[in-house]
Protein backbone atom coordinates (compact mmCIF):
# COMPACT_ATOMS: atom_id res chain seq x y z
CA UNK A 1 0.00 0.00 0.00
CA UNK A 2 1.52 3.36 -0.95
CA UNK A 3 2.22 5.98 1.71
CA UNK A 4 0.20 9.16 1.92
CA UNK A 5 -3.19 7.85 2.85
CA UNK A 6 -3.62 10.58 5.46
CA UNK A 7 -1.15 13.10 4.06
CA UNK A 8 -3.84 15.55 2.89
CA UNK A 9 -4.84 16.90 6.30
CA UNK A 10 -1.22 16.90 7.50
CA UNK A 11 -0.10 19.10 4.60
CA UNK A 12 -2.99 21.42 5.29
CA UNK A 13 -2.05 21.71 8.96
CA UNK A 14 1.63 22.45 8.22
CA UNK A 15 0.67 25.08 5.69
CA UNK A 16 -1.77 26.63 8.09
CA UNK A 17 0.95 26.98 10.78
CA UNK A 18 3.53 28.30 8.32
CA UNK A 19 1.16 30.84 6.92
CA UNK A 20 -0.35 31.74 10.26
CA UNK A 21 1.46 35.06 10.47
CA UNK A 22 0.48 36.26 7.04
CA UNK A 23 -2.37 38.64 6.66
CA UNK A 24 -3.66 37.23 3.42
CA UNK A 25 -6.18 34.44 3.90
CA UNK A 26 -4.98 31.32 2.14
CA UNK A 27 -7.34 28.44 1.43
CA UNK A 28 -5.70 25.12 0.99
CA UNK A 29 -7.52 22.44 -0.94
CA UNK A 30 -7.01 19.00 0.50
CA UNK A 31 -7.73 15.57 -0.86
CA UNK A 32 -10.58 13.78 0.85
CA UNK A 33 -9.53 11.77 3.86
CA UNK A 34 -10.01 8.41 2.24
CA UNK A 35 -7.79 5.64 0.99
CA UNK A 36 -6.50 5.66 -2.59
CA UNK A 37 -8.59 2.64 -3.55
CA UNK A 38 -11.73 4.22 -2.13
CA UNK A 39 -10.88 7.36 -4.08
CA UNK A 40 -10.42 5.34 -7.26
CA UNK A 41 -13.81 3.66 -6.73
CA UNK A 42 -15.56 6.96 -6.02
CA UNK A 43 -13.99 8.60 -9.09
CA UNK A 44 -15.07 5.70 -11.27
CA UNK A 45 -18.67 5.92 -10.10
CA UNK A 46 -18.69 9.70 -10.52
CA UNK A 47 -17.44 9.17 -14.03
CA UNK A 48 -20.24 6.69 -14.75
CA UNK A 49 -22.75 9.22 -13.51
CA UNK A 50 -21.54 11.63 -16.16
CA UNK A 51 -20.29 9.57 -19.02
CA UNK A 52 -21.66 6.03 -18.89
CA UNK A 53 -19.46 3.38 -20.45
CA UNK A 54 -16.93 5.91 -21.70
CA UNK A 55 -15.42 5.47 -18.24
CA UNK A 56 -14.24 2.03 -19.18
CA UNK A 57 -10.91 2.63 -20.88
CA UNK A 58 -9.51 0.13 -23.36
CA UNK A 59 -7.57 -2.48 -21.44
CA UNK A 60 -9.21 -1.54 -18.15
CA UNK A 61 -11.40 -4.65 -17.95
CA UNK A 62 -9.44 -7.24 -16.09
CA UNK A 63 -9.14 -10.95 -16.51
CA UNK A 64 -8.19 -11.08 -12.84
CA UNK A 65 -11.45 -9.46 -11.75
CA UNK A 66 -13.41 -11.60 -14.19
CA UNK A 67 -11.70 -14.67 -12.73
CA UNK A 68 -12.63 -13.57 -9.21
CA UNK A 69 -16.22 -12.86 -10.27
CA UNK A 70 -16.51 -16.34 -11.81
CA UNK A 71 -15.05 -17.95 -8.69
CA UNK A 72 -17.56 -16.03 -6.56
CA UNK A 73 -20.31 -17.22 -8.89
CA UNK A 74 -19.17 -20.85 -8.71
CA UNK A 75 -19.01 -20.66 -4.93
CA UNK A 76 -22.41 -19.04 -4.40
CA UNK A 77 -24.30 -18.78 -7.71
CA UNK A 78 -27.20 -20.83 -8.88
CA UNK A 79 -26.40 -24.46 -9.69
CA UNK A 80 -28.88 -24.14 -12.57
CA UNK A 81 -26.75 -21.49 -14.26
CA UNK A 82 -23.51 -23.26 -13.39
CA UNK A 83 -24.79 -26.51 -14.87
CA UNK A 84 -25.90 -24.85 -18.09
CA UNK A 85 -23.39 -22.12 -18.75
CA UNK A 86 -19.99 -22.87 -17.22
CA UNK A 87 -18.33 -23.64 -20.59
CA UNK A 88 -19.79 -20.43 -22.04
CA UNK A 89 -18.50 -18.37 -19.11
CA UNK A 90 -15.06 -19.94 -19.45
CA UNK A 91 -15.08 -19.17 -23.16
CA UNK A 92 -15.76 -15.51 -22.36
CA UNK A 93 -12.94 -15.58 -19.83
CA UNK A 94 -10.54 -16.69 -22.55
CA UNK A 95 -11.33 -13.62 -24.69
CA UNK A 96 -10.17 -10.19 -23.41
CA UNK A 97 -12.52 -8.50 -25.89
CA UNK A 98 -15.52 -10.31 -24.41
CA UNK A 99 -14.44 -9.53 -20.85
CA UNK A 100 -14.27 -5.86 -21.79
CA UNK A 101 -17.69 -6.07 -23.46
CA UNK A 102 -19.10 -7.57 -20.27
CA UNK A 103 -17.70 -4.74 -18.15
CA UNK A 104 -19.05 -2.11 -20.56
CA UNK A 105 -22.47 -3.82 -20.51
CA UNK A 106 -22.49 -3.85 -16.71
CA UNK A 107 -21.60 -0.17 -16.53
CA UNK A 108 -24.22 0.75 -19.13
CA UNK A 109 -26.87 -1.30 -17.36
CA UNK A 110 -26.42 0.67 -14.15
CA UNK A 111 -25.48 4.07 -15.58
CA UNK A 112 -28.99 5.53 -15.30
CA UNK A 113 -29.58 4.12 -11.82
CA UNK A 114 -26.22 5.39 -10.59
CA UNK A 115 -26.90 8.90 -11.86
CA UNK A 116 -28.19 10.60 -8.76
CA UNK A 117 -27.90 7.49 -6.59
CA UNK A 118 -25.19 9.26 -4.57
CA UNK A 119 -23.06 6.16 -4.01
CA UNK A 120 -19.95 6.53 -1.92
CA UNK A 121 -17.34 4.06 -0.75
CA UNK A 122 -17.69 3.05 2.88
CA UNK A 123 -15.38 0.10 3.36
CA UNK A 124 -12.78 -1.97 1.61
CA UNK A 125 -11.57 -5.56 1.76
CA UNK A 126 -8.29 -6.94 0.51
CA UNK A 127 -9.02 -9.02 -2.56
CA UNK A 128 -6.09 -11.40 -2.08
CA UNK A 129 -7.68 -13.45 0.73
CA UNK A 130 -11.11 -13.21 -0.91
CA UNK A 131 -9.75 -14.80 -4.10
CA UNK A 132 -8.41 -17.74 -2.09
CA UNK A 133 -11.66 -18.10 -0.15
CA UNK A 134 -13.75 -18.00 -3.32
CA UNK A 135 -11.57 -20.58 -5.08
CA UNK A 136 -11.61 -22.99 -2.14
CA UNK A 137 -15.34 -22.61 -1.69
CA UNK A 138 -16.00 -23.06 -5.44
CA UNK A 139 -14.00 -26.29 -5.57
CA UNK A 140 -15.76 -27.73 -2.51
CA UNK A 141 -19.16 -26.74 -3.82
CA UNK A 142 -18.81 -28.15 -7.33
CA UNK A 143 -17.60 -31.37 -5.81
CA UNK A 144 -20.38 -31.49 -3.19
CA UNK A 145 -23.10 -30.85 -5.73
CA UNK A 146 -21.65 -33.25 -8.29
CA UNK A 147 -21.59 -30.42 -10.81
CA UNK A 148 -19.12 -30.71 -13.66
CA UNK A 149 -17.41 -33.98 -13.01
CA UNK A 150 -14.43 -33.38 -15.29
CA UNK A 151 -12.29 -30.32 -15.87
CA UNK A 152 -13.85 -28.12 -13.20
CA UNK A 153 -10.93 -28.25 -10.78
CA UNK A 154 -8.51 -27.29 -13.56
CA UNK A 155 -10.77 -24.40 -14.55
CA UNK A 156 -10.95 -23.22 -10.92
CA UNK A 157 -7.16 -23.40 -10.68
CA UNK A 158 -6.84 -21.28 -13.80
CA UNK A 159 -9.35 -18.69 -12.60
CA UNK A 160 -7.55 -18.49 -9.27
CA UNK A 161 -4.22 -17.98 -10.97
CA UNK A 162 -5.58 -15.14 -13.09
CA UNK A 163 -7.21 -13.49 -10.08
CA UNK A 164 -4.11 -13.89 -7.92
CA UNK A 165 -1.85 -12.42 -10.57
CA UNK A 166 -3.79 -9.17 -10.79
CA UNK A 167 -5.65 -8.75 -7.55
CA UNK A 168 -3.16 -9.79 -4.86
CA UNK A 169 -2.89 -6.16 -3.74
CA UNK A 170 -6.32 -5.13 -4.99
CA UNK A 171 -9.35 -4.20 -2.95
CA UNK A 172 -13.06 -4.77 -3.01
CA UNK A 173 -14.65 -1.42 -2.23
CA UNK A 174 -18.17 -1.55 -0.82
CA UNK A 175 -20.23 1.51 -1.69
CA UNK A 176 -23.58 2.54 -0.28
CA UNK A 177 -26.17 4.43 -2.25
CA UNK A 178 -29.34 6.06 -0.84
CA UNK A 179 -31.33 4.75 -3.83
CA UNK A 180 -31.26 1.79 -6.22
CA UNK A 181 -28.90 -0.11 -6.46
CA UNK A 182 -28.27 0.67 -2.74
CA UNK A 183 -25.08 -1.39 -2.68
CA UNK A 184 -22.29 -1.38 -5.21
CA UNK A 185 -19.02 -3.26 -5.11
CA UNK A 186 -16.06 -1.97 -7.08
CA UNK A 187 -12.88 -3.97 -7.61
CA UNK A 188 -9.53 -2.23 -7.79
CA UNK A 189 -6.02 -3.41 -8.54
CA UNK A 190 -2.75 -1.82 -7.50
CA UNK A 191 -0.19 -1.44 -10.22
CA UNK A 192 2.66 0.96 -10.96
CA UNK A 193 1.99 2.99 -7.88
CA UNK A 194 -1.71 3.58 -8.34
CA UNK A 195 -5.07 1.98 -7.87
CA UNK A 196 -7.37 1.53 -10.84
CA UNK A 197 -10.86 0.11 -11.10
CA UNK A 198 -11.13 -3.26 -12.79
CA UNK A 199 -14.80 -4.16 -12.43
CA UNK A 200 -18.01 -3.71 -10.52
CA UNK A 201 -20.94 -5.69 -9.25
CA UNK A 202 -24.14 -5.00 -7.34
CA UNK A 203 -24.06 -8.29 -5.52
CA UNK A 204 -21.26 -10.06 -3.67
CA UNK A 205 -21.82 -13.11 -1.43
CA UNK A 206 -21.72 -12.41 2.29
CA UNK A 207 -18.83 -14.85 2.70
CA UNK A 208 -16.82 -12.67 0.33
CA UNK A 209 -17.51 -9.33 1.97
CA UNK A 210 -20.99 -8.67 0.58
CA UNK A 211 -24.14 -7.71 2.40
CA UNK A 212 -27.80 -8.70 2.13
CA UNK A 213 -30.17 -5.88 1.23
CA UNK A 214 -33.11 -4.87 3.42
CA UNK A 215 -36.36 -6.48 2.23
CA UNK A 216 -37.87 -3.14 1.15
CA UNK A 217 -34.86 -2.52 -1.02
CA UNK A 218 -34.98 -6.00 -2.50
CA UNK A 219 -38.46 -5.27 -3.82
CA UNK A 220 -37.31 -1.98 -5.35
CA UNK A 221 -34.32 -3.64 -6.96
CA UNK A 222 -36.45 -6.32 -8.58
CA UNK A 223 -38.33 -3.49 -10.30
CA UNK A 224 -35.10 -1.82 -11.35
CA UNK A 225 -34.70 -1.02 -15.01
CA UNK A 226 -31.13 -2.29 -14.75
CA UNK A 227 -32.39 -5.85 -14.33
CA UNK A 228 -34.66 -5.58 -17.34
CA UNK A 229 -37.61 -7.30 -15.70
CA UNK A 230 -39.97 -4.33 -15.78
CA UNK A 231 -42.81 -4.96 -18.18
CA UNK A 232 -41.52 -8.42 -19.06
CA UNK A 233 -44.17 -11.04 -19.69
CA UNK A 234 -44.42 -14.69 -20.52
CA UNK A 235 -46.66 -15.89 -23.35
CA UNK A 236 -49.82 -17.69 -22.24
CA UNK A 237 -52.15 -19.84 -24.34
CA UNK A 238 -55.19 -17.83 -25.47
CA UNK A 239 -57.61 -20.07 -23.63
CA UNK A 240 -55.60 -20.26 -20.40
CA UNK A 241 -57.36 -19.44 -17.14
CA UNK A 242 -54.43 -17.21 -16.17
CA UNK A 243 -50.74 -17.20 -15.26
CA UNK A 244 -51.35 -19.34 -12.18
CA UNK A 245 -53.42 -21.89 -14.08
CA UNK A 246 -52.08 -21.86 -17.64
CA UNK A 247 -54.54 -24.38 -19.09
CA UNK A 248 -58.07 -24.15 -20.53
CA UNK A 249 -61.04 -23.74 -18.24
CA UNK A 250 -62.69 -26.62 -20.10
CA UNK A 251 -60.28 -29.00 -18.41
CA UNK A 252 -60.76 -27.47 -15.00
Amino acid sequence: MPAGRHSGPLVAAVLAVALGGCRAKVEVATLPDESPSLRAANSFVHCIEGANSACVEPGQASRGWHGFALLAWLSHGSPVAIASSLPHQLAIHAEPRLIERRMVDEVERYAIALRGAGCSGVEEHSLGPLVERAATSAAERLDGLALWVRGASDAIGMLREDARAELAQGTLVAMRCPTDPYLLYVGTRYSEGRYSVVGMSTLVPAALGGERLDPERVAVRLESRALGLQGASSPLPDDAIGPWLPFPVEEF
Partner: protein, 268 residues
Protein backbone atom coordinates in the same frame (compact mmCIF):
# COMPACT_ATOMS: atom_id res chain seq x y z
CA UNK B 1 -3.42 -14.87 -18.35
CA UNK B 2 -0.10 -15.69 -19.90
CA UNK B 3 -0.23 -16.22 -23.68
CA UNK B 4 0.82 -19.85 -23.55
CA UNK B 5 -2.04 -20.60 -21.23
CA UNK B 6 -4.73 -19.52 -23.67
CA UNK B 7 -4.78 -22.78 -25.67
CA UNK B 8 -4.72 -24.71 -22.40
CA UNK B 9 -7.70 -22.72 -21.25
CA UNK B 10 -9.57 -23.35 -24.50
CA UNK B 11 -8.97 -27.04 -23.91
CA UNK B 12 -10.47 -26.72 -20.44
CA UNK B 13 -13.51 -24.97 -21.86
CA UNK B 14 -14.10 -27.89 -24.17
CA UNK B 15 -13.10 -30.45 -21.60
CA UNK B 16 -15.51 -29.55 -18.81
CA UNK B 17 -18.15 -32.19 -18.56
CA UNK B 18 -21.50 -31.95 -16.82
CA UNK B 19 -22.61 -34.32 -14.11
CA UNK B 20 -24.96 -37.20 -14.83
CA UNK B 21 -27.96 -34.89 -14.74
CA UNK B 22 -29.54 -32.15 -12.72
CA UNK B 23 -31.33 -34.65 -10.50
CA UNK B 24 -27.89 -35.90 -9.41
CA UNK B 25 -27.12 -32.41 -8.17
CA UNK B 26 -30.46 -32.17 -6.35
CA UNK B 27 -29.98 -35.65 -4.89
CA UNK B 28 -26.48 -34.79 -3.66
CA UNK B 29 -27.81 -31.89 -1.65
CA UNK B 30 -31.00 -33.59 -0.46
CA UNK B 31 -28.99 -36.54 0.82
CA UNK B 32 -26.84 -34.24 2.94
CA UNK B 33 -29.72 -32.05 4.05
CA UNK B 34 -32.60 -34.39 4.91
CA UNK B 35 -31.67 -37.76 3.43
CA UNK B 36 -33.18 -38.99 0.17
CA UNK B 37 -34.77 -41.86 2.09
CA UNK B 38 -36.87 -39.37 4.05
CA UNK B 39 -38.54 -37.92 0.97
CA UNK B 40 -42.02 -39.21 0.20
CA UNK B 41 -41.99 -42.10 -2.23
CA UNK B 42 -43.73 -41.56 -5.52
CA UNK B 43 -43.64 -41.45 -9.28
CA UNK B 44 -43.34 -38.46 -11.56
CA UNK B 45 -41.26 -37.05 -14.33
CA UNK B 46 -37.59 -36.20 -14.63
CA UNK B 47 -36.26 -33.40 -12.41
CA UNK B 48 -35.52 -30.61 -14.87
CA UNK B 49 -33.02 -27.86 -14.00
CA UNK B 50 -34.57 -25.36 -11.61
CA UNK B 51 -34.46 -23.82 -8.16
CA UNK B 52 -34.57 -26.53 -5.53
CA UNK B 53 -35.87 -25.85 -2.06
CA UNK B 54 -35.30 -28.46 0.61
CA UNK B 55 -37.54 -28.53 3.65
CA UNK B 56 -36.34 -30.46 6.67
CA UNK B 57 -37.86 -30.53 10.12
CA UNK B 58 -35.52 -27.82 11.37
CA UNK B 59 -34.38 -25.91 8.30
CA UNK B 60 -35.27 -24.74 4.81
CA UNK B 61 -32.54 -24.61 2.17
CA UNK B 62 -32.57 -22.76 -1.11
CA UNK B 63 -30.24 -24.62 -3.43
CA UNK B 64 -27.44 -25.75 -1.14
CA UNK B 65 -27.50 -23.01 1.48
CA UNK B 66 -29.63 -22.85 4.59
CA UNK B 67 -32.00 -19.95 4.20
CA UNK B 68 -34.34 -20.26 7.17
CA UNK B 69 -34.68 -22.26 10.39
CA UNK B 70 -37.87 -24.27 10.89
CA UNK B 71 -39.34 -25.71 14.06
CA UNK B 72 -40.90 -29.17 13.68
CA UNK B 73 -41.22 -28.38 9.99
CA UNK B 74 -43.05 -25.12 10.60
CA UNK B 75 -42.05 -21.49 10.25
CA UNK B 76 -41.46 -20.22 13.79
CA UNK B 77 -42.63 -16.67 13.11
CA UNK B 78 -45.82 -16.92 11.08
CA UNK B 79 -46.41 -13.16 10.89
CA UNK B 80 -47.81 -12.70 7.40
CA UNK B 81 -46.09 -10.56 4.81
CA UNK B 82 -48.16 -7.62 3.55
CA UNK B 83 -46.66 -8.28 0.10
CA UNK B 84 -47.74 -11.93 0.06
CA UNK B 85 -51.35 -11.97 -1.13
CA UNK B 86 -51.88 -15.54 0.03
CA UNK B 87 -50.85 -14.56 3.56
CA UNK B 88 -47.57 -16.45 3.63
CA UNK B 89 -45.10 -15.70 6.42
CA UNK B 90 -43.00 -12.60 6.07
CA UNK B 91 -39.74 -14.47 6.66
CA UNK B 92 -40.56 -16.93 3.89
CA UNK B 93 -41.59 -14.27 1.42
CA UNK B 94 -38.53 -12.12 2.11
CA UNK B 95 -36.25 -15.13 1.86
CA UNK B 96 -37.64 -16.07 -1.53
CA UNK B 97 -37.69 -12.52 -2.83
CA UNK B 98 -34.00 -12.18 -1.96
CA UNK B 99 -33.25 -15.41 -3.82
CA UNK B 100 -35.06 -14.14 -6.92
CA UNK B 101 -33.03 -10.95 -6.77
CA UNK B 102 -29.83 -12.97 -6.64
CA UNK B 103 -30.99 -14.95 -9.65
CA UNK B 104 -32.05 -11.81 -11.51
CA UNK B 105 -28.68 -10.14 -10.97
CA UNK B 106 -26.91 -13.34 -11.98
CA UNK B 107 -29.06 -13.53 -15.09
CA UNK B 108 -28.41 -9.94 -16.12
CA UNK B 109 -24.66 -10.17 -15.47
CA UNK B 110 -23.96 -13.52 -17.07
CA UNK B 111 -26.66 -13.53 -19.73
CA UNK B 112 -28.53 -16.53 -18.36
CA UNK B 113 -32.27 -16.98 -17.83
CA UNK B 114 -33.95 -16.88 -14.45
CA UNK B 115 -35.09 -20.46 -13.71
CA UNK B 116 -38.71 -21.21 -14.58
CA UNK B 117 -38.95 -24.33 -12.41
CA UNK B 118 -39.00 -24.57 -8.62
CA UNK B 119 -38.78 -27.99 -6.94
CA UNK B 120 -39.66 -28.68 -3.33
CA UNK B 121 -37.89 -31.59 -1.70
CA UNK B 122 -39.61 -31.96 1.67
CA UNK B 123 -39.05 -34.47 4.44
CA UNK B 124 -42.18 -36.63 4.44
CA UNK B 125 -43.10 -35.45 7.98
CA UNK B 126 -42.98 -31.76 7.12
CA UNK B 127 -46.52 -30.36 7.25
CA UNK B 128 -47.99 -29.91 3.78
CA UNK B 129 -49.09 -26.47 4.98
CA UNK B 130 -45.44 -25.41 5.27
CA UNK B 131 -44.68 -26.73 1.81
CA UNK B 132 -47.65 -24.78 0.44
CA UNK B 133 -46.62 -21.60 2.22
CA UNK B 134 -43.15 -21.93 0.75
CA UNK B 135 -44.64 -22.58 -2.69
CA UNK B 136 -46.84 -19.49 -2.53
CA UNK B 137 -43.91 -17.43 -1.24
CA UNK B 138 -41.68 -18.61 -4.09
CA UNK B 139 -44.38 -18.15 -6.72
CA UNK B 140 -45.65 -14.77 -5.58
CA UNK B 141 -42.20 -13.25 -5.21
CA UNK B 142 -40.92 -14.44 -8.58
CA UNK B 143 -40.62 -11.61 -11.08
CA UNK B 144 -42.81 -11.70 -14.19
CA UNK B 145 -44.82 -14.92 -13.78
CA UNK B 146 -45.27 -17.75 -11.30
CA UNK B 147 -42.82 -20.61 -11.89
CA UNK B 148 -43.51 -24.23 -12.77
CA UNK B 149 -43.78 -26.03 -9.45
CA UNK B 150 -43.13 -29.58 -8.37
CA UNK B 151 -42.69 -31.78 -5.34
CA UNK B 152 -39.65 -34.05 -5.42
CA UNK B 153 -40.29 -37.67 -4.60
CA UNK B 154 -38.03 -40.66 -4.31
CA UNK B 155 -38.73 -43.58 -6.60
CA UNK B 156 -37.08 -46.93 -5.97
CA UNK B 157 -34.70 -47.65 -8.81
CA UNK B 158 -35.47 -44.40 -10.61
CA UNK B 159 -33.90 -41.87 -8.27
CA UNK B 160 -35.63 -38.56 -7.73
CA UNK B 161 -38.83 -37.76 -9.59
CA UNK B 162 -40.79 -34.58 -9.97
CA UNK B 163 -44.51 -34.36 -9.20
CA UNK B 164 -45.83 -31.24 -10.96
CA UNK B 165 -48.51 -29.08 -9.39
CA UNK B 166 -50.16 -25.70 -9.81
CA UNK B 167 -51.45 -23.28 -7.20
CA UNK B 168 -54.82 -21.62 -7.04
CA UNK B 169 -54.23 -17.87 -7.45
CA UNK B 170 -53.46 -16.24 -4.07
CA UNK B 171 -56.81 -14.43 -4.00
CA UNK B 172 -58.75 -17.52 -5.07
CA UNK B 173 -60.49 -17.95 -8.39
CA UNK B 174 -63.74 -16.50 -9.68
CA UNK B 175 -65.08 -18.45 -12.64
CA UNK B 176 -67.53 -16.78 -14.97
CA UNK B 177 -71.01 -18.16 -15.29
CA UNK B 178 -71.29 -20.64 -18.11
CA UNK B 179 -67.64 -21.63 -17.87
CA UNK B 180 -68.74 -25.26 -17.47
CA UNK B 181 -65.86 -25.89 -15.09
CA UNK B 182 -66.19 -28.84 -12.75
CA UNK B 183 -63.83 -27.20 -10.22
CA UNK B 184 -63.47 -30.48 -8.38
CA UNK B 185 -61.97 -29.79 -4.98
CA UNK B 186 -60.81 -32.15 -2.24
CA UNK B 187 -60.53 -30.47 1.11
CA UNK B 188 -58.92 -32.32 3.99
CA UNK B 189 -60.42 -31.42 7.36
CA UNK B 190 -60.63 -33.43 10.55
CA UNK B 191 -59.32 -36.51 8.78
CA UNK B 192 -62.15 -36.42 6.23
CA UNK B 193 -61.77 -35.89 2.51
CA UNK B 194 -64.57 -33.53 1.49
CA UNK B 195 -65.38 -33.24 -2.18
CA UNK B 196 -67.01 -30.27 -3.83
CA UNK B 197 -67.55 -28.99 -7.34
CA UNK B 198 -70.26 -28.12 -9.83
CA UNK B 199 -71.35 -31.76 -10.30
CA UNK B 200 -74.96 -31.98 -9.11
CA UNK B 201 -74.49 -35.54 -7.82
CA UNK B 202 -71.78 -34.48 -5.38
CA UNK B 203 -74.18 -32.77 -3.03
CA UNK B 204 -73.09 -30.53 -0.19
CA UNK B 205 -71.73 -33.30 2.03
CA UNK B 206 -69.86 -35.61 -0.31
CA UNK B 207 -66.92 -36.98 1.59
CA UNK B 208 -64.67 -39.98 2.00
CA UNK B 209 -63.18 -41.36 5.18
CA UNK B 210 -60.32 -43.11 3.48
CA UNK B 211 -58.47 -43.29 0.19
CA UNK B 212 -60.48 -46.32 -0.99
CA UNK B 213 -63.77 -44.45 -0.68
CA UNK B 214 -62.24 -41.44 -2.35
CA UNK B 215 -61.07 -43.55 -5.29
CA UNK B 216 -64.60 -44.86 -5.82
CA UNK B 217 -66.01 -41.35 -5.84
CA UNK B 218 -63.37 -40.19 -8.30
CA UNK B 219 -64.03 -43.09 -10.67
CA UNK B 220 -67.72 -42.20 -10.77
CA UNK B 221 -66.95 -38.52 -11.29
CA UNK B 222 -64.53 -39.21 -14.11
CA UNK B 223 -67.18 -41.25 -15.92
CA UNK B 224 -69.52 -38.28 -15.83
CA UNK B 225 -66.83 -35.71 -16.70
CA UNK B 226 -64.42 -37.44 -19.06
CA UNK B 227 -63.06 -34.12 -20.40
CA UNK B 228 -62.00 -32.81 -16.99
CA UNK B 229 -58.44 -33.42 -15.87
CA UNK B 230 -58.00 -31.08 -12.96
CA UNK B 231 -58.47 -31.45 -9.23
CA UNK B 232 -57.85 -28.91 -6.49
CA UNK B 233 -56.48 -30.26 -3.21
CA UNK B 234 -56.49 -28.24 -0.02
CA UNK B 235 -54.54 -30.37 2.47
CA UNK B 236 -55.43 -28.20 5.47
CA UNK B 237 -53.19 -27.85 8.46
CA UNK B 238 -52.76 -31.41 9.75
CA UNK B 239 -51.66 -33.33 6.69
CA UNK B 240 -47.97 -34.12 6.16
CA UNK B 241 -46.16 -33.91 2.86
CA UNK B 242 -45.95 -37.70 2.79
CA UNK B 243 -49.73 -38.01 3.20
CA UNK B 244 -50.30 -35.39 0.53
CA UNK B 245 -48.19 -37.36 -1.94
CA UNK B 246 -50.16 -40.52 -1.09
CA UNK B 247 -53.39 -38.64 -1.78
CA UNK B 248 -52.05 -37.30 -5.07
CA UNK B 249 -51.06 -40.82 -6.09
CA UNK B 250 -54.70 -41.93 -5.65
CA UNK B 251 -56.12 -38.95 -7.50
CA UNK B 252 -53.77 -38.75 -10.48
CA UNK B 253 -54.95 -41.79 -12.44
CA UNK B 254 -58.36 -40.10 -12.71
CA UNK B 255 -57.56 -36.40 -12.62
CA UNK B 256 -54.00 -35.89 -13.71
CA UNK B 257 -53.59 -32.15 -13.19
CA UNK B 258 -53.02 -31.27 -9.55
CA UNK B 259 -53.79 -27.79 -8.22
CA UNK B 260 -52.98 -27.10 -4.57
CA UNK B 261 -54.54 -24.53 -2.29
CA UNK B 262 -53.95 -23.32 1.25
CA UNK B 263 -57.46 -22.08 1.85
CA UNK B 264 -57.94 -20.32 -1.48
CA UNK B 265 -61.37 -21.05 -2.91
CA UNK B 266 -63.15 -21.19 -6.25
CA UNK B 267 -66.28 -19.11 -6.69
CA UNK B 268 -68.54 -20.39 -9.43
Amino acid sequence: MRAWLVPVFAMLVQGTEPSAGFSTTVASHVERSVGVGNLPGGQGSEVVPGVFITLGLDHLDVFDHEALPLSQGRVADATPSPACRSGCARVLFETMEWEWLRLAVEGATLGVDIPVAVHFAAHRDVPAATLLQAAYAAAESRPVTPPNLSIVTSSAGRGLRSQAFFLLPPEGLLLQQGSAALALTIQVTDGKLRLSGSDSNLGPHAQASNLGQLRALLVALKKRHAGKDTVVIDPGDAMTTGELIELIAQVKPHFSRIVLSRGQTIRL
